[in-house]
């Protein structure tokens, strides 16, 4: 039996709802109710559910971007909030639903990539020269099938597919143990979806991470994942 890499226990999350007139908090909207599941090492878990059911919220909680109201998330047996930032960065990375929103609009792609690749070496306590960083960058560009021309460009100059690949490169380059893909195909044209799906399948072959694959498409989840959970109205339906 494999070890559980991730355990989500009784996670509940609500967002405040404000009145329009005075912007005072009037009620809260419960988005996730008592979510409990676990994920084994080196498996791909599909999270299925209609749009608005709280999938992104769940992903953000696991990636420590949002805090749950109650319940806890354990990574390798410890509460995720007990890890220092640096340690956690190599554990869980989230590919946001909208890859464009991950890229600082005023910085060029080269800067964004270099920043992360440097951080990768720093997190592994290795002092490196610029040439090593550059070598690593070209290696990563090859992995995500991007030409080095993008380095000089700004996020708004890229196509949807290129943005997606840049975003993947950025989460990939820290080699997380768990990679969460939040509807990775939804921001793409239909013509690109098949191509990117193959790409993700290759990625899964190449990098033996654990994956959480969030989607609203049952066929996709079955194609990509070893296990599937379904969420509806913030609750888990079936496993």
């Amino acid at each position: 039996m494999k070890n559980n890499i991730l355990e989500v226990r009784n996670v509940t999350k609500s967002y405040p709802v404000y009145s329009q007139l005075l912007h005072t908090k009037i009620t809260k909207k419960i988005v996730l109710k008592n979510i409990t599941f676990s994920l084994e090492e080196n498996t791909a878990l599909g999270v299925l559910g209609p749009s608005g059911c709280g999938k992104t919220t769940l992903a953000k909680i696991i990636a420590r971007i949002e805090q749950p109201d109650s319940g806890e998330v354990l990574f390798e047996g410890r509460n995720i909030f007990s890890y220092p930032n640096k340690t956690f960065a190599c554990m869980v990375q989230l590919l946001f639903q909208n890859p464009y929103s991950m890229l600082n609009p005023k910085l060029n792609i080269g800067f964004l990539i270099k920043e992360r690749v440097r951080q990768y070496f720093k997190l592994n306590n290795t002092k490196v020269e610029d040439s090593t960083v550059n070598k690593k960058i070209s290696e990563l560009l090859e992995t995500v099938k991007l030409s080095p021309d993008v380095l000089k460009m700004y996020p708004y100059q890229l196509s949807g597919g290129q943005r997606q690949r840049v975003a993947i490169l950025l989460v990939l380059c820290l080699y997380p143990k768990l990679l969460i893909l939040d509807e990775p195909l939804s921001a793409l044209d239909v013509s690109l979806q098949a191509q990117m799906l193959n790409f993700f399948a290759e990625l899964k072959q190449q990098f033996k991470f654990s994956y959480i694959f969030i989607t609203h498409d049952e066929n996709l989840a079955e194609y990509f994942c070893d296990q599937i959970i379904k969420i509806e109205n913030g609750e888990i339906l079936t496993k």
Binding site: F96, S101, L103, P105, K106, L107, Y154, L170
Partner: protein, 322 residues
């Protein structure tokens, strides 16, 4: 990029001409004539008066006078002051450094202190520091500068006797050692600089706070944080860099306010700058001097905005490539 610059320069030039025309017309239609002052002055002889009236063609129609004035200005000849016959350019260049010193220091303080307060209150939103600065900032907004100037002069200058309240140098400045000279000027600058930057600083701090909060809520900031770096690094490299772009524009736009406010502000502090010279010139209907100061002020303001434009183009990639 070059096309963009050329475009800006042409617009700048047209604006400049527009400003000088308006200044010229407004001064000439305002009541009171320069001759009135000259009649009261015994230092100017009748011949000099005649020569001046003729030189400036005070009897000729307005548009011809403007045109003549413009032709001379192109050759950097601003004429001589009606009051004491000194070249306008010389009078201005004596006063310009003090004004530049005051305004550059004020702008610098507005920029650094305003941004620092804005960033910190955004980072610690709704904490004690944020609430405190919010109060101070709203005071800065609502208190008129001139009233605050007089209040501070009374408190720090007269009651506490900590700071000098007028001029730029003490009477015994000449005899001070070098360090003493600098310290003396600094002491004279504290009140004018502090007060002239206060309201601008308040506005900027408020603006930076709002924009920073907006930036910090963006997903790319959350993503940048997920790589495990310190929050302050991300705040600075990612969020503040983006806030900096409009800040540069705002600073450029606050320049006319600073320089224009200087006319009354410098007079209150008896500050030996161009503003006070301008105030005196207006009171004396000293046309050449008023026009000279108006022109230099307009040129400085436009230059400031031009620099802001260039910096803007430099920091915003989307402008740069279009």
């Amino acid at each position: 990029m070059i096309k963009l610059l050329l475009n800006r320069i042409v617009v700048l030039f047209i604006t400049f001409i527009g400003i000088t025309v308006i200044t010229f017309v407004v001064i000439n239609i305002s009541p009171g004539k320069p001759q009135d002052m000259m009649d009261m002055s015994t230092r100017i002889s009748f011949e000099a008066k005649q020569r001046l009236v003729k030189l400036y063609g005070l009897d000729k129609p307005l548009h011809i006078r403007y045109f003549n004035w413009f032709l001379r200005v192109i050759r950097l000849d601003f004429g001589t002051s009606f009051k004491d016959d000194k070249p306008v350019l010389k009078k201005i260049s004596e006063r310009l450094p003090a004004t530049l010193l005051l305004n550059i220091l004020s702008l610098g303080i507005i920029f650094f202190v305003g941004c620092t307060i804005g960033i910190l209150s955004a980072m610690y939103q709704n904490k004690f520091f944020d609430k405190l600065t919010t109060i101070v900032v709203f005071l800065g907004y609502s208190i008129p500068r001139y009233w605050l100037a007089i209040l501070c002069m009374i408190v720090f200058g007269i009651k506490l006797n900590w700071l000098p309240i007028s001029g730029l140098r003490s009477v015994n400045w000449e005899y001070l050692p070098f360090v003493g000279k600098i310290w003396d000027i600094l002491k004279h600058l504290i009140l004018p600089v502090a007060i002239s930057s206060f309201s601008g600083l308040a506005g900027l701090a408020r603006y930076v706070r709002g924009s920073m909060i907006e930036q910090l809520n963006c997903e790319y900031i959350k993503f940048a944080l997920s790589k495990g770096t310190q929050r302050k690094k991300v705040v600075f490299y990612h969020a503040f860099r983006n806030v900096l772009i409009p800040v540069v524009t705002i600073l450029g736009l606050s320049l006319p306010d600073l320089i224009g406010g200087g006319f009354i502000f410098e007079t209150i502090f008896a500050y030996p700058g161009m503003g006070r010279l301008g105030y005196e010139a207006i009171m004396a209907r000293d046309y050449p001097l008023i026009m000279g100061i108006g022109t230099i002020t307009a040129a400085l303001t436009l230059l400031g905005n031009f620099i802001a434009d260039i910096v803007y183009v430099y920091v915003d990639p989307r402008v740069r490539y279009k």
